[in-house]
């Protein structure tokens, strides 16, 4: 009898080859150019797509297995969190503001990254690249979902979580993150990879996720810690891929270097501006603080970023142009931005507050050269005015930066007593910027940024035409519930009452 020999099990390498490279075939009745029309116009030259190495050699079957396991663990913990009133374990209701900003500004960014990677997975020619982008697209979708699911528990009890998608599109501070992702998605495939794969995932992600997740851990928020952990192993893969892609571009052709350098300059600065939101969270919004924004910058920016750019010097890459200005802004940005958040609190879908004396002492200890000199006097005045029954509310809308869309709250890099005023005229129209970095990005591609939808000027156009109440309706913001001071808010009342019920007999 003829016995069939059992087939040899495939090795990882072989399996990877069959499930990626082997899926690519040579087109016969359509040209490469017709199939991949987006590869040339950015000026990047690729000679051999097979040189793209996926360091993880991850195949779809292994991917499903790992991710499925993580999902099961994640949802088990989220269920436990919901059933055990996990929301009452957080340190204080003020912590919720950090979560609201995350959900309104960052989670939709995960979804945008999903769309972007799905697109470039189709636009790139190499099979290895296509598969890597496809898996990252799935990861990003999963991150958006797990974040929304984790935070939906809080939506049952607190304000400001209910309309994050609309908030993301319509409120001013969220438009900063939105504009970042829209800009990347409106770029060609190679620039998109530098924007998200390299600058966002590699250079900046530590400054975004590590402080948020350790902030969550310090403040008793198991739901957020869990989605953080669930995403962490994906992030490690994304970071490696981001670095791989930049090396690939640089190794393929020497002409790619100036283009890549320009994108690194641009996307570092755009990312740094988005981090303005994170700096306020770290310095002002965590009831129990992890570290100051400055300390986080020292570790993840200066040390890690510095080491990275040292490595890339081999390829001729220098640190991003805005690096020095960023360093000068570190001791100021969270204070300048928080002062804005507080005075425009009528227009935020989260609560803010005047820092307590204890908070301010911590800030002057962490920012010995700037806080007492520049920022404490302002908070002291605001506090006095509040005590005299004249709460400090600025009902003027703010001038926004045409590029990053933040209110122009930042001062001159070398003079913290003067706001940074930058403007340019393009085809007869005046445009304003928060910094030299943003002005240079605009001037490189003015046609792109003249179309920017800026929430503040927009408020005076159709359909709102300057009517603040109509704007609130349109932005899904309920006045007196979602916005304003934390002290006296329904979030504060409810959190204190429920926590009282959970921890005492009254």
């Amino acid at each position: 009898m003829d016995m069939k020999a059992p087939e040899k099990k495939l090795g990882i390498k072989e399996k990877y080859r069959l499930l990626t490279r082997d899926l690519a075939w040579q087109p016969t009745y359509r040209s490469e150019k017709e199939i991949y029309p987006y590869l040339d116009y950015e000026g990047i030259k690729i000679h051999d797509w097979d040189k793209w190495e996926d360091p993880f050699r991850l195949t779809m079957d292994a991917y499903w297995k790992y991710q499925g396991e993580k999902e099961r663990k994640f949802y088990a913990i989220i269920d436990a969190h919901a059933q055990n009133n996990g929301h009452l374990n957080i340190t204080d209701g003020r912590y919720l503001s950090a979560l609201k900003i995350f959900l309104q500004a960052i989670s939709p960014g995960e979804y945008a990254a999903h769309k972007g990677f799905a697109r470039v997975g189709r636009e790139f020619a190499g099979a290895g690249t296509q598969v890597a982008c496809q898996m990252q697209a799935l990861d990003e979708m999963r991150h958006a979902q797990t974040q929304i699911h984790a935070l939906s528990n809080y939506n049952k009890y607190y304000s400001g979580f209910h309309a994050f998608a609309e908030t993301r599109d319509r409120i001013w501070y969220t438009s900063v993150a939105r504009s970042f992702f829209d800009d990347s998605m409106a770029s060609g495939p190679f620039e998109f990879l530098i924007a998200i794969g390299f600058s966002f995932e590699y250079v900046l992600t530590n400054l975004l996720f590590v402080p948020f997740m350790s902030g969550a851990a310090y403040n008793g928020d198991m739901a957020t810690v869990t989605f953080g952990f669930s995403a962490q192993s994906d992030e490690a893969r994304h970071m490696t891929l981001g670095l791989e892609c930049i090396k690939f571009m640089l190794e393929q052709d020497p002409d790619n270097l100036p283009i890549v350098q320009k994108w690194i300059d641009k996307w570092f600065w755009r990312g740094f501006r988005v981090l303005g939101l994170v700096s306020t969270m770290m310095d002002y919004m965590l009831p129990k603080r992890v570290m100051s924004w400055r300390e986080a910058w020292e570790i993840y920016g200066v040390e890690n970023g510095g080491a990275l750019f040292k490595d890339l010097a081999f390829y001729g890459i220098r640190p991003p142009k805005g690096w020095e200005d960023a360093g000068k802004a570190i001791d100021h940005m969270s204070h300048q931005f928080m002062l804005g958040f507080y005075q425009w609190r009528f227009g935020t879908a989260f609560h803010s507050w005047i820092p307590s004396d204890q908070d301010m002492d911590w800030l002057s200890q962490k920012y010995p050269t700037t806080f007492d000199k520049y920022y404490r006097p302002r908070w002291d005045y605001i506090k006095r005015a509040e005590a005299e029954g004249k709460p400090f509310k600025n009902f003027g809308l703010a001038k926004l930066c045409q590029c990053c869309q933040l209110p122009c709250v930042f001062t001159e890099p070398d003079d913290a007593s003067v706001l940074c005023h930058r403007q340019t005229t393009h085809k007869g129209e005046i445009y304003h910027f928060c910094s030299d970095g943003c002005q240079e990005i605009f001037e490189d591609e003015p046609e792109k940024y003249v179309q920017a939808w800026l929430p503040m000027p927009q408020l005076f156009q159709d359909p709102v035409n300057g009517d603040l109440a109509a704007w609130m309706d349109w932005a899904h913001l309920t006045d007196g519930l979602d916005n304003g001071e934390y002290q006296g808010s329904s979030d504060q009342r409810n959190f204190d009452r429920w926590r009282g019920l959970a921890t005492s007999n009254t």
């Binding site: 029309p37 987006y38 116009y41 950015e42 000026g43 060609g188 300048q336 931005f337 002062l339 804005g340 005075q343 000199k373 520049y374 006097p377 302002r378 005045y381 605001i382 005015a385 004249k390 400090f392 509310k393 600025n394 009902f395 003027g396 809308l397 703010a398 001038k399 209110p407 122009c408 709250v409 001062t411 913290a416 007593s417 003067v418 706001l419 005023h421 403007q423 129209e429 005046i430 445009y431 304003h432 001037e443 490189d444 591609e445 003015p446 046609e447 792109k448 003249v450 179309q451 920017a452 939808w453 800026l454 503040m456 000027p457 927009q458 005076f460 156009q461 159709d462 035409n465 300057g466």
Partner: protein, 118 residues
């Protein structure tokens, strides 16, 4: 430089004056008074006189600063688009050359009770 694109790329700015129903935007900032986190966006008709702008919406927005009542408008130093500027208070914004989205700034030397240390 110009945008890298595969086809003609020319789109309308979103903040053209024609979208503001006969009004324009003026940005105004009080130098050295950083209790106000950013320049104010003020939306008024271009025929508004400079005096009406200053004594109306601008004065109202400034009133929450403790120095506001002590401003001597006759002694204020002005900038327009970051250049020195001498406004005619009784002329319109147009006649003063203050176009749509123009930035004006003013300085009040000696008057600075909160950020004097800075």
């Amino acid at each position: 430089m110009t945008v890298a694109a595969r086809a003609p790329y020319d789109f309308k700015p979103r903040d053209l004056m024609e979208n503001f129903h006969g009004k324009q935007i003026v940005y105004a900032a009080w130098d050295g008074h950083l209790l106000f986190a950013a320049s104010f966006l003020i939306c008024v008709p271009p025929e508004t006189s400079f005096r009406e702008l200053v004594e109306g919406p601008l004065a109202q927005l400034l009133s929450i600063d403790p120095d506001a009542a002590a401003i001597d408008w006759a002694a204020v130093q002005w900038l327009k688009g970051n250049q020195p500027f001498s406004p005619d208070f009784d002329q319109s914004l147009v006649a003063n050359g203050i176009g749509h989205k123009e930035q004006i700034r003013f300085r009040t030397p000696g008057l600075n009770s909160i950020t004097a240390a800075a």
